[in-house]
Symmetry: C2
Subunit: 181 residues, 2 copies
Amino acid sequence: MSLRHALLGLLADGPASGYDLTRAFDGSIGRYAWQAGHSRIYPELAKMAEAGQVVVDETGPRGRKTYALTDDGHTELRRWMLHWPEQANVRDETVLRMFLVQSLEPEDARRLLEGIAAHCLAEIENLRPVMEADDAEHRPGDPLPFGRLAGEYGLRQYEAVHGWALWSLERLGAAEPAGTS
Amino acid sequence: MSLRHALLGLLADGPASGYDLTRAFDGSIGRYAWQAGHSRIYPELAKMAEAGQVVVDETGPRGRKTYALTDDGHTELRRWMLHWPEQANVRDETVLRMFLVQSLEPEDARRLLEGIAAHCLAEIENLRPVMEADDAEHRPGDPLPFGRLAGEYGLRQYEAVHGWALWSLERLGAAEPAGTS
DNA sequence: CCTCGACCTGTCCGCGTAGACATGTCAAGA
DNA sequence: TCTTGACATGTCTACGCGGACAGGTCGAGG
């Protein structure tokens, strides 16, 4: 149950409501790491409160309840972060498509890989300015902005996939020339 | 329902039994892309047969049934491969941990990142010889071995994460020196 | 004053999934 | 001949999860 640990990790940054957490999952964490809708988040927060890992910190207008980590919650988060299982849970549609590229006809595969490469380039050009702006504001000694490490991960991820797509195109071309002939 | 498409993709490589497919998921596809146990695979194959995407190709000893793709199955696979949704399903515990590194105390974060870097290095050194052996046997014009693209993906993936971990360590060190002073 | 849109919390249902349970066959080697 | 281990197929149950359903509050602007 990694949703619980995702929530613990997000709450470690400060108290938040179910609504806040739901919006957090709409951002990069939901795009690269783990998805969750509010319909899973509210019940899970309730269970975590029952288990003593979080407490209701304060109640605001519109029935807003912010949750805060307890010591138990902190301990559990740390335990989970430092204890890596042999085989982690992975379920990634994009990677699955990459594994199955070779099931396509060569022309289809080529078109697909070209699409992937172009998409990665576009994402890289979106991401890089944001990261560089972050860095420009950053002075040595400041804490890193939350998400800076994640952003860097995303950037390097796209660069790796881009390189892979180009390499694959080259190999495919070598194995079975089609555009030429 | 990506399990269905994973199965279609694997069957595109040739007929296989539920047992064969289960073992395929124990390999790299289950490690990087999508996991599935036999308890999901057998019912799904039955449903796919009902939907006309696969047929029982031949029956062997011990009740073995090999399934083969139909034209419908091929069409559906191709449709899924070429049609990329805006937001793909992702659920990756490892990436989640990376997103939450900053929730740890600096010393813990540093230890964790060092562990990640070391782990990546080890995997790279496992993978690279296998890929190079593949390449040595490969002559231009031969079809690529199934899994060669996937292996290259894994290799580049580990290299990217390795680079990210080193970069993060450096940034963390700059932001909050601990080993020194 | 009123309306609209963002805020905010929840439940319900059907399907996907993991792990345990159940059953039986065949081949190789002791 | 017997035992062991790989081969092989299935079901069952409890839980995770996404999308729809449901209801209510507050602030800003017309």
